[in-house]
Symmetry: C2
Subunit: 364 residues, 2 copies
Amino acid sequence: MDRRNFLTAAGVAAAGAALTAPAIAQTAPEIKWRMTSSFPVALDTIYGGGTTLAKYVSELTDGKFQIQVFAAGEIVPALEAASAVSDGSVEMAHTVSYYFWGKDPTYSIGSGLPFGLNARQQNAWLYHGGGNDLMNEFYATQNLVGFPSGNTGCQMGGFFRREIKTVADMKDLKMRVGGFAGTVMTKLGVVPTQIAGGEIYQALEKGVIDAAEWVGPYDDEKLGLVKVAPYYYYPGWWEPGSTVHAFVNAAKWAELPPTYQNVLTVAAQATNCDMLAKYDAFNPTALKKLAAAGAKFTPYSQEILEAAFAASNEVYAETSAVNPAFKKTYESMAAYRADAYLWAQFSEYTLDTFMMGQQRAKAL
Amino acid sequence: MDRRNFLTAAGVAAAGAALTAPAIAQTAPEIKWRMTSSFPVALDTIYGGGTTLAKYVSELTDGKFQIQVFAAGEIVPALEAASAVSDGSVEMAHTVSYYFWGKDPTYSIGSGLPFGLNARQQNAWLYHGGGNDLMNEFYATQNLVGFPSGNTGCQMGGFFRREIKTVADMKDLKMRVGGFAGTVMTKLGVVPTQIAGGEIYQALEKGVIDAAEWVGPYDDEKLGLVKVAPYYYYPGWWEPGSTVHAFVNAAKWAELPPTYQNVLTVAAQATNCDMLAKYDAFNPTALKKLAAAGAKFTPYSQEILEAAFAASNEVYAETSAVNPAFKKTYESMAAYRADAYLWAQFSEYTLDTFMMGQQRAKAL
């Protein structure tokens, strides 16, 4: 079953419910919803995905379906966005599914796991590999309907006050790192801490923490962390291509006329494309600014990557042993991942490799 | 100016035109359009992008805006799709912009050039790097409005009857290769030929041609070329991430109510995301089938890639010298490309590289 089958089923249910409503309500009623974002307005990329989605929905309905976007903390704290939609306090959220891993680690798979899928692979699995159906089976248990509605691309691996070369260097390292990745980090000896974006700079400057990850160059550059923690690590192995979701309260979804359900579905998919394009357009320039500001671009060592990969697999095995929804969804993702990384190394990777050689030779 | 400014301007013009029409026509009139595809129905990926776009448009308008999709040759030959839209014979086409390079090579940049941008970079440049605006400046001279509405990802480099290791091996090679790439191939000594998809197999089998490129594993596998030309080359350096366009006749576009303009715009962007996801989901399995059928996966040598890159740059310099629209658009693309391939080699590439190592070690 693919995404469209799911939507057809939902559409049928909604159409049935609408039979008792007046004719006007079936087609184009005026609706005003609230959407709580998990991001601050300053992040025009990821917060901007929410406003893009709302703009598209309004444009597609001649302004009749209005979604008002609220920044993190305005009406709901950032990390409670999904809960507020589950309990119906707000109709929608624009957020990252893994933020809610503490409620159930299955949430994490929707946005992407450490060493999971890159952005294009996320889309392939979600839209055409059964991923959206599996995630929505799970989201249904949370009173949610979920739509991929943005992607950051592979993130960077954080700013560090000092170099880390071996797994031993990570022991007792205090790092600001979000979500399920913290569980993996713990296995490497890291002490993960949750600190809001606005407080990271001071914590790093004072040495309260040793390292902090945020997003990628364009968002990271705004925080100015390079001044207090110049080692800028890559790759961000815990966020290979994080999908941002639009969550809708399940009951509110069922009340929508079928056309508005289609509007949300298509607008979310267009937003998904648009946000990744924006990150890909803006990250290169920000990278050069960070370099000019003194960032020391440093790759994680193969030793650290291998240990982190092994630790991730341990976490997935432990979680699968006790959580059937996680297990089923993880296995679907992992099966696609193995095939996808076979194909990936042929055409696009070899051409990209050649082009990177030309870039370094200043031939582009 | 970004894509949205362009659309706002177009929207304003259309809204002005609509002032004289009855009120009902401004919002949700019943409209039936025809869209000619440049692809056969058998290619459910790329032809399917056209039907997805039409489906989305219908779903978003409660069935009031209907677009009927015709396969290549049903009402317009594949390589005349854009011309038929330019002259108003049909309202829309779903096609690849470079097919029309013979009318003006600027068309080629819309879909992507040899050694141009990969799929994500195409989207970044088109949506947020000024690319759509520049392309639409050009398309306006052709009575067209263009919307990215699909992407194939990096294609493969064709099936060859024999190995080619050096540039000398390419001399007098008769190859089925489409579009502007033929011009580059000619500089390498290749004799490019245009052969319709259905006739490639016989031409290869009989030795009328020595090689043929088509798309990527999923589409290629259907043609069965591996049986008569087992050397399956990569990367497809002439198609790093081909964008498929929806073209709309400019006068017909101006007549659309603003909401329907928005519907087409957002539906095309969603389709763009959906088609690439479908290719990325289906290509891996097809790759394994091709391997089982005896495909010998063979990389182009560095010598050939370097010669092809140099030949491409010669063609771009020659074309820029005589075609100001090409020059302006090419330079915008190339400036973004240099930055994009700087950023690309940091986070995502290094993580992908690590994951490919795990794939080869059967650890995924």
